[in-house]
């Protein structure tokens, strides 16, 4: 069973829909025991970092999430909350990935970065189990104004205004800046790969 973390962020329903389409059993929950007992955990989210972290701390869900041992996938805001710190509301985050989340700044490019862009640009290798059987030039769907800086845990990068982490991975923790649940066949392959992790 896949547990989807229930918290005060939007877009959780679209992850449920995507898993249902793939025939994967799932449950939205904020019960620590259920999260710990799940085979895999997905941490989705669209929203504001400060409010989301406050909500997680008040319920001590932050401690539950970082102590999980099964495969864990953060999506979009979920990914950003897994980093050390976000400029959005100057928020201390979960600190799973040793990197910072910053606001895109550009006169020339439109912000948010919204639409289809590369899953992976030129200089990282797709060596993650999460990304297996995917072509190098695959496009995925992004909607975000903040980005995670490239760090040791970066396994794929995308370029918009500047290169940023599109996929992060460390031990049992995986995360994508893009929305696999909105990324057509490529996104479905990634969700399938995640579900198939040992």
């Amino acid at each position: 069973m896949i547990a989807i973390v229930k918290y005060n962020a939007g877009n959780i329903g679209s992850v449920t829909n995507a898993l249902n389409r793939l025939g994967i059993e799932n449950k939205v929950t904020d019960d620590p025991a259920e999260l710990q007992a799940a085979d895999k955990v997905i941490f989705p989210g669209v929203g504001e970092a400060g409010t989301a972290m406050r909500y997680l701390r008040e319920r001590e869900l932050d401690q539950v999430l970082i102590s999980l041992k099964q495969p864990f996938l953060g999506i979009c805001l979920g990914m950003q909350l897994m980093c050390n710190h976000s400029e959005e509301g100057d928020t201390k985050c979960l600190g799973i990935f040793d990197t910072h989340v910053k606001l895109f700044k550009s006169q020339e490019f439109k912000v948010p970065h919204m639409g289809w862009n590369s899953l992976n640009s030129e200089f990282r290798i797709l060596d993650s189990e999460l990304l297996k059987e995917l072509p190098q030039e695959a496009d995925v769907y992004y909607v975000h104004s903040y980005y995670a800086e490239i760090c040791d845990d970066t396994v794929a990068t995308c370029g918009y205004i500047l290169p940023f982490s599109s996929v992060l991975q460390k031990n049992n923790f995986y995360a994508t800046q893009f929305h696999p649940e909105k990324s057509a066949g490529v996104g479905e392959r990634i969700l399938r790969n995640f579900v198939d992790l040992p």
Partner: protein, 287 residues
């Protein structure tokens, strides 16, 4: 490699059914928006737009369940618009699984709605649809708002726009499905939409809509360079060459069309193949 230009088929919905005979080969029910949505996603559409043209005020009863059904089957983003005039309905539609809501007449009537939706849902969920038409400029007032600074490096499209102004034509916003002219000048209105928190502008040129002789390049170019939010151009796209010039001659982020996709005149895969050949950055199906 960078952000790809989006191709967006638009479907008109009435009482939960697709309007006009949409002619897809092998489709069981050409009037079922859910079936069509799946088909377009499989063809490689980047996003879909559903416009509900149901006349009744109480469209919640049919629209919200339909959005829920579409969200369950669709693996790409989609926008829902048509008669959305309050925050409650917009929230219901987003909660049912739409990625964005589009508002049009209601925003003109009460521009605060844009700010309210942006605060409640986030700007990325708020599309303002703007229907624009060039009309004879009969007042000094209109001419002043529309004044554009032209320098030596101005693009030809700007110069064309200036000549249009010299001809006494102004771009005006229309509402109620294009039936009613407002006193809003199009560029100024788009700027106000952005200022109030719109995440995107869906710009439909009524001079070009349904004519299939190309998008309204001048106004699209001007607005897409002036604003820092994405512009979806609509109206006039009839051939791949029209989309090519839209993406090469303007800063539009997406092109929207209806009948050319519905009637198989220019299927999405064929359009994308031709755009890739023309060197436009487009998402191609890779799995």
């Amino acid at each position: 490699m960078g952000l790809k230009k989006r191709i967006i088929p638009c479907l008109d919905i009435k009482d939960g059914r697709t309007v006009k005979g949409i002619n897809f080969v092998g489709l069981r029910d050409a009037g079922d928006p859910v079936e069509l949505a799946k088909q377009y996603a499989a063809q490689g559409a980047d996003e879909l737009c559903f416009l509900d043209i149901t006349a009744t005020v109480e469209k919640r009863d049919t629209l919200v369940p339909l959005v829920r059904e579409i969200a369950a089957v669709l693996n790409i983003p989609f926008t829902v618009g048509g008669g959305i005039n309050d925050v409650t309905l917009a929230k219901e539609i987003i909660k049912a699984g739409a990625d964005k809501v589009a508002i049009n007449s209601a925003a003109v009537k009460r521009p605060e709605l844009i700010s309210e939706l942006a605060a409640e849902l986030g700007s990325q969920c708020v599309v303002v649809a703007v229907d624009t038409k060039r009309v004879q400029n009969d007042s000094d007032n209109g001419r002043n708002i529309n004044k554009i600074e032209i320098n030596d490096k101005a693009k030809p499209s700007l110069l064309r726009l200036r000549s249009a102004q010299a001809d006494g034509l102004t771009n005006k916003v229309f509402v109620a499905g294009g039936r009613i002219e407002t006193n809003l000048e199009t560029i100024a209105w788009c700027e106000e939409c952005e200022r109030r928190g719109a995440g995107e502008i869906l710009l439909t040129s009524m001079d070009h809509d349904g004519v299939k002789n190309g998008f309204a390049l001048e106004i699209t170019d001007l607005i897409s360079r002036k604003l820092n939010i994405p512009i979806i151009a609509s109206g006039g796209g009839g051939t791949a060459a029209h989309f090519e010039e839209l993406f090469k001659d303007t800063h539009a982020s997406a092109g929207l069309a209806a009948s050319i996709f519905h009637f198989g005149e220019l299927p999405v895969p064929e359009l994308k193949r031709q755009l890739v050949e023309a060197g436009v950055e487009i998402r191609i199906l890779s799995t």
